[in-house]
Amino acid sequence: MNAHDREPDHALPRVLPSGVGRGVVWSDQLDGDRRISSSSSLSMRLGWSANGDARIEHRSWTQAVCVEDRERARRFLEAADLEGGEIDLRLAGGHRHEWIRLSLVGKDDENGLLCVARDATREHQLASAMEAWAATPEPRSSAWTLGRSVEHLAHLTGAELVLISERLPEPDQDRARVLAMAAPHTAVQILEHGIRGEPWEDAFEGRTILTRESPRERWPNVPLFQHLEAQAFLCFPLGSPEGQPLGVVMGVFRQVPDDQDWVEDLFRLCTGRIALEVQRMHSVGKFVVPVETPDQHTGLISRSAERYRAYVEGAATAIWCLETDHPISLRSGLTEVANQILKHGRLVECNDAFAHTLGRQTARDLVGARTSELPAFAEGAPGQALRKLIDAEFLVGHAEVAEVRKGAPARHLAFDLLPILEDGAFLRLWATQSDVTQSVEEREALRASHRQLTSIFDSALDGIFVLDQALSVVDVNGAFLGIAGADHHDVLGKHVSAFDAGSNSATVESLARAAEAQGPYRIRVSLQRMDGTPFPAEVSFCHRNDEGGRTYGFVRDRSVEVDAEERDRMHRNQLTHISRLNTVGEMAAGIAHELNQPLAAIVNYTRGGIRHLRASDVENPELMRALEAAADQAERAGDVIRRIRSFIRRGEKQVEITRLNDILRESLALAEFSIRRSQVRLEVDYDPEDRLVLADRIQVEQVLLNLIRNALDAVRETPESERVIRIRTLSQSEHAGLVLVCDNGPGLDPSDVEDAFAPFVSTKAEGIGLGLPISRSIIEAHGGRLWCEPLEDGTTCFRFTLPFRSEHA
């Protein structure tokens, strides 16, 4: 063949662009004599995009071509030279079943020989299918041949189901009978089906019809099609070589086949053989292997028998075959067939592997035994497997049985049963049997782990949702439904943005996407429930690249927490506000008090002076007037102060009946952060009696906070490991409770203790020196007392009392 005519666009490309269609370029470096220098220098560059998988670039051709074909390839290249030509070669490694057809297109001095190739896999599949037909062991019953042919056809075309059907003779001519069928993933039901109607009749008349319709919808009454997920079926006419219609071969496909011509080619190839068998079946009248074998087949038969023996006897899988003395009609019912097989069957074939399962060394003694004599069939696993299939109304198929053994763990056995039927009657049953205990155990372990994960999923307190690649919800757990306030059907299929409350800086969608790029992370966002109410949530996302790129989200509803935080914050704000007001008020009160004392002294002195003057003999009206004016002015100043103080005092306390321990607990909660930050050990003793007090909670809390803060400041110089603050509440007497706040800081000099309570005196750089005076006035306003008294061990200890609320009050 002239390569230039065939593939003109591929002529002598210097550099083949990568990714070019079905093309292979082999390049052979030539020496000066235009001879192939050596076979090992051949290299190939393969841009194989037919199915998107094979891509070989710049590999030595010896690596690219499978071992068996290398010599042939080398000879082709050496001989081809300028002559041109074609060769089919198998690829190496994982592409062993792919064929390429190589065409020599020319050569040039630089690159050497150039060949273009195309995919020749299908041609070879067809050829091997034909070879397989030729190699089919002869002779076989017609039923066996038909069964093999549909299996073969299903395998080659990728059909879900292939069946051979014929028109029933009168008076049932409007019905069809299934002669054979194969479904690689489905057990076969040997029943008759009324698959008649338009496409079938058309095919029967000789036309090939591909219907883009589900056979389930086309024949809703045919049970066979009901569990097939198929979108197309092909009705192919089955006719005798003379052109007489015999029936229809039907292929059911999950999807409309890409290459319809190819599928039809395969059907055409196979139906020729099928037609011959069907005709033979009709002429003989029943499916019987010819007893008298024609002489010319003797060799074939003996070869086939040898091969069969080698397969069966050498197999690690247990193989056995039961036969009944007489054929049993299937019309008596499948259960009856099974009973007959198990009661009156005879073991006509088995291999050593099967003998071992019965605890025997060799199969020799077993062959010929009655099933009734072998417990394995009466009550053992093989018998159970058969009954299991019968219960499911199948005679052919796969069954798994657990065999319980005394003193040993159960063994799981898998059976594949193939009954040989002829003319609606059972002849024999072939079976393979293998120990699948390990895989069953693995499967069970997987299931257990799945169950475990499922129960974790279902019982988790956090809401869990699973998103597919498009970020639509594919699964959620009960907690999620609870949080979202939704049912499964409300949520499944929803896009994740449906839960976005819309007030976040980034959309939930983009956050979910981020998990893909950044790995798992956790974030606080605002989500919305199904009814649209927003709620604060903490969400963590993680993404897995396998399993179709799922993103997992874990949601915690923070609304309760946030409410508590909000309340806490408000309480704090209130406290700060009151504290500020109090500070201002107390400053005024402090000033008033401080001025009051000297004013009172001035009044006393001047009034006393006046009295002294009066009592003496000295007459001095000028002095008297001045003294009286001084006293009046001082009293006036006193009045001003009194008015200020009564104004301040108007902000009455908000007293309530409460417990000292509760006040302490609340103060500690407020100071928690400061305490933690100060690395101080906190020891708290609560008064077990815990009697009631009448107090303005917030004010007393303020006192406690102030004392705690002072204590924290005091221990700042103490080494971290030794810092201790001890707080106690106790009953001082019958009438009053006592609170102690002690620290092991440097302590106060006894002479400084009272100074600490004087207003505007502070040891702290930033203090205004009102903390303790205010605290003291708060406690005194409550009828208590606040003072400082060191403990015996030298620790500073501030104490205050609060009167208990008398029970009758």
């Binding site: 004392q597 009044v603 006393n604 009295r611 001082a634 006193g638 309570f757």
Partner: protein, 212 residues
Amino acid sequence: MTDIPTVFVVDDEPAMRDSLKFLIGSVGIAVRCFASAEEFLASYDPRAAGCIVLDVRMPGLSGLELHEQLAQERFTPPVLMITGHGDVQMAVRAMKVGAMDFIEKPFSDQVLLEHIHHAIEVDTKRRAELEELVVLEARRSTLTSREREVFSLVVVGKPNKVVAHELGLSQKTIEVHRAHAMEKMKANSFAELVKMAVALGERAPDVHPTKE
């Protein structure tokens, strides 16, 4: 026992102490000053006549606490509380333990001095009552137990006949005991005896009549 009534001023503020001493002294009343409750207690003599002027707020023992402590004694001199920042609660508490007055600073000299005069009067009167009571108690302690019984019963108004019946004695014997009691108590009349009994807080003893 000191006869001159003295005002005991307890205040931690030196200026207050000094000015109070000056003011009170100006009307000729003796004044003694103390800087703290503790200092006062150290030299406290319940027999000293007069009154106490207490500052409510003091370091250490506060005025209120000092007063509470004093109030536990059999006799407490009148107490005037002075405060720079009195409030209702504090005043109520002070009054409950028997403070005579609660005066807010700054006060007019008039008010303070009136209060002091009044307190000293009350003290003098109470002391006189106390002295009389002490004499009566001494006299009562000289009664025999039978005389004591008869004394207790007759002063609550029971006729001799009833008393005789209750104690299981003859009327004659009761009359003798009664006369002895009158004599020992130095009562000129039965009415005077009853007055004495009231002062002593005498109540009828719980006796059961003896069956004849």
